[in-house]
């Protein structure tokens, strides 16, 4: 048992020390979080007063080690129960929580020039045709005002170069044709058995009843163009660095 415990401790310690969580860790942790934690903590991690898991605001934890300990052991005398997670599972949840505040930024970021990146974003990149940042730009694509706290630099870079590699469920586009023949395209917000709620290409919130549609398809490709070849490697690095500075509105 000693051997196992020591090696686990070393491995865990190494992972914690550099906070080098991989996107796979964050994804796995996100799934665990959504399956097990949202009932009490809510989707945004803000359902318990005094706790804001998405912004690093905890009552009793400051380090990642503290967090993993609490996830596994609970907090006696409070409704936070002990769980059955393994140490590696608890660490993926920590990875997920930390990813929400952008703590994964580190080694991969900072290689570009954020000011230059902003100029490209607002100028030759034409990003604001679809994306909005702090109240400026279109709402047709995802609002990027907090993107630096949500996504790692590597994943941002991948989205700029190869937007079709991963289209997140919440960023999917639908194309619908009504029985009257009108075509509506937009980004899906929610879907249920009988309807779908979207933000359309005119930035309007539209609620569609599937019974009134002749056609309803999720687009296979992202409406986002690839910037491979359109922007140079240093330009892409600049844009990523700029996006990494976007951490949302103060005090939210």
């Amino acid at each position: 048992m000693w051997v196992i415990r020591i090696s686990l401790a070393l491995w865990a310690g190494a992972l914690f020390a550099q906070h080098g969580y991989s996107p796979a860790d964050v994804d796995a942790g996100g799934r665990l979080y959504r399956s097990n934690c949202v009932n009490c903590h809510g989707q945004e991690g803000t359902a318990i007063s005094g706790v804001d898991l998405g912004h690093g605001k905890f009552r009793r934890a400051s380090t990642d080690e503290d967090l993993a300990h609490i996830i596994i052991n609970g907090i006696p005398g409070t409704p936070m129960p002990p769980t059955n997670f393994t140490q590696p599972q608890a660490e993926t949840i920590v990875a997920y929580l930390r990813s929400l505040v952008g703590s994964t930024a580190g080694a991969a970021s900072g290689s570009g020039d954020a000011a230059g990146g902003r100029a490209i974003f607002e100028g030759k990149g034409g990003c604001r045709t679809c994306h909005r940042v702090n109240g400026s730009g279109s709402r047709v694509g995802p609002d990027l005002s907090e993107i630096g706290g949500l996504r790692s630099p590597a994943s941002l870079e991948q989205s700029i170069r190869d937007p079709n590699v991963e289209i997140r469920p919440e960023n999917r586009y639908v194309r619908a044709v009504t029985r009257g023949g009108a075509t509506v395209t937009g980004r899906v917000l929610t879907e249920d058995t009988f309807g779908v709620q979207i933000i359309d290409t005119h930035e309007k919130l539209v609620s569609l009843s599937k019974a009134n549609l002749r056609e309803f398809t999720f687009l296979k490709d992202s409406p986002m163009p690839s910037f491979r070849g359109k922007l140079s490697d240093p330009e892409i690095a600049d844009v990523v660095s700029y996006l990494e500075t976007l951490k949302g509105v103060e005090g939210q």
Binding site: A28, R31, Q89, T190, D192
Partner: protein
């Protein structure tokens, strides 16, 4: 002396009717009432009422709403007895209300011990009634008898220790002069049991352990001492066949859930249906759906008893859509396997052999890095009831499809009252509650109501849901099928072809079974969603 005798008759006529056991057996003869958890003791969740039809169902209108003073999921199926509706407001408040108006007569509020620790919500699925007494099983593992007229407790007995992880969430089942219950706690290392109590006194009459003790037949299906904390809980109501005098119960998963090497063997009677003599608690036969379960595939579905011609001969069968993704037809006189087929995507087994035993898929076990297996931890279906209509002859299953979990191998260690399960599986579909903003991809899990012909296993139709469902199904004598889903819809389908005929937005997740009753000749359909009970009738 003749006058007083007549007077006595008149007075007796105005007293609340006694629900005799004979009435429970013949509940189909009084379709205005819903006298037990599944409507009848046969578990069919079928109502002989037919005022609401495929033609007029579009005229359904909300009659009343009962808002529970509880934010827990409203999982109870109400009882209705001669115009009075009885239900449970989570966790353990019994409520009597006017079934025509929803106005409350009384509330009996029981405060369960803070030691209670049900794994998956402080919920309750309903009551049983006999005579003028209601029976409630509580989350702190007590059984309480309550006067159905004034809501006063008559007796209250301990069934098991809540601090050891025992809890009760099921509606009890009355058979003759006994009230039968079982205990939840399969994630806490309990040793499950079914027990019968005298309806008058609350004295325990018999107890059947769902894990055989040392020296008993079947104990050798557990390695070492693993039987002592092997779970095999019981948390959904059984059924009763008055001709065979057998009561049937579905048994939960073995524990620890996802660490099967700690409990070598088939682990009887986990994931079984057991047929018991209700007078003695003696086992008559069993059938195990998932021997040596790695995936938490509780077999806690309600046994559905039906009589039908099967392969050219009349047969007393039992229909069972199991959490493991297969549906089964068994001979309920002896447990013989007659038919079994997957009703959803299944990868943990390649099929069933000629005796109904699953053929395990190689490598389909929890692994340290996580192993993607269908159906996921919550199963192809779960506790929410399926329905069988003797009119259409179809078996209606509320199910999850494309649903998987990554099962993770991790450690488990028993300590009294603590979770004893292993590492939590991962899945894109939340276990218990749906997100308010839902945009998951179909390939990551969706729900459906599917109709099967139990004689052939052939799928007749399906109604697809964008979200998974925790709703039961009700079928009616006018060939309607009612159900709902996590996306907060309640709807009526044509039971013959699955066509959508009517729908309503209830807002909350439907985590209960719809039921039907009538008052003053008017048919009602009741269903709960979120923490609210709704009742509909024709306008």
């Amino acid at each position: 002396m003749k006058v007083p005798a007549l007077l006595l008759v008149l007075i007796a006529g105005s007293l609340p009717a006694q629900v005799s056991f004979d009435r429970l057996i013949r509940s189909g003869q009084e379709p205005q009432n819903w006298l037990s958890y599944s409507g009848g003791l046969d578990g069919q969740r079928y109502t002989p009422l037919n005022q609401i039809t495929p033609q007029n169902v579009k005229n359904l209108e909300l009659q009343w709403v009962f808002q529970a003073r509880s934010l827990e999921k409203f999982e109870a199926t109400p009882l209705v007895v001669d115009g009075i509706l009885y239900t449970v407001q989570a966790p353990n408040d019994v409520v009597a209300l006017d079934a025509a108006t929803g106005r409350v007569f009384w509330v009996y509020s029981y405060k369960p011990s803070p030691q209670s620790r049900p794994c998956c919500g402080k919920v309750n699925r309903g009551l049983a009634i006999l005579g003028d007494t209601l029976f409630m099983a509580t989350i702190d593992a007590r059984l309480i008898a309550i006067d159905a007229t004034n809501g006063h407790p008559l007796w209250n007995v301990e069934v098991a220790k809540p601090e050891a992880g025992y809890a009760m969430t099921l509606a009890p089942l009355v058979v003759k002069d006994k009230v039968i219950i079982g205990t939840a706690g399969g994630e806490y290392g309990i040793r499950g049991f079914i027990a019968a109590y005298d309806v008058k006194t609350g004295k325990e009459a018999w107890r059947f352990y769902t894990i055989p003790g040392a020296g008993e037949p079947g104990n050798n299906t557990w390695s070492g001492d693993s039987w002592m904390h092997g779970g095999a809980s019981v948390w959904v109501t059984g059924a009763y066949d008055p001709v065979l005098n057998l009561t049937y119960w579905g048994i939960g998963n073995p524990g620890p859930d996802w660490v099967s090497e700690m409990r070598g063997g088939d682990n009887l009677y986990s994931d079984c249906v057991v047929a018991l003599d209700p007078d003695t608690g003696k086992l008559k036969w069993y059938f195990q759906f998932t021997p040596h379960d790695d995936f938490d595939y509780d077999s806690v579905q309600v046994p559905i008893l039906a009589d039908m011609d099967f392969k050219g001969a009349p047969r007393k069968v039992m229909l069972w859509a199991n959490r493991n993704g297969f549906f089964y037809v068994l001979d309920r006189t002896n447990g013989q396997f007659l038919l079994g087929k997957p009703f959803t995507k299944v990868t943990w087994a390649t099929g069933l052999d000629e005796r109904g035993r699953p053929m395990r898929a190689p490598g389909a076990v929890p692994t340290p890095e996580g192993n993607k297996i269908y159906p996921g931890n919550m199963g192809g279906t779960n506790w929410n009831s399926a329905s069988y209509s003797p009119r259409t002859g179809l078996f209606y299953i509320p199910l999850w499809d494309n649903y998987y979990s990554e099962f993770v191998k991790g450690p488990a260690e028993y300590a009294e009252g603590r979770i004893f399960a292993g590492a939590m599986p991962r899945s894109p579909v939340p276990m218990i509650q749906a997100p308010q903003v839902q945009n998951r991809k179909e390939e990551d899990g969706y729900g459906a109501i599917r109709a099967f012909d139990p004689k052939t296993g052939e799928k007749k139709w399906e109604f697809k849901l964008s979200e998974v469902t925790d709703s039961g199904v009700l079928s009616t004598a006018s060939d309607l099928v009612f159900s709902g889903g996590r996306d907060g819809y309640f709807f009526a389908l044509d039971g013959r072809n699955g066509e959508l005929l009517w729908k309503a937005t209830l807002g909350g997740q439907v985590s209960s079974g719809p039921m039907s009753y009538s008052v003053g000749g008017k048919q009602y359909i009741a269903v709960s969603a979120g923490s609210t009970l709704f009742s509909y009738a024709l306008r």
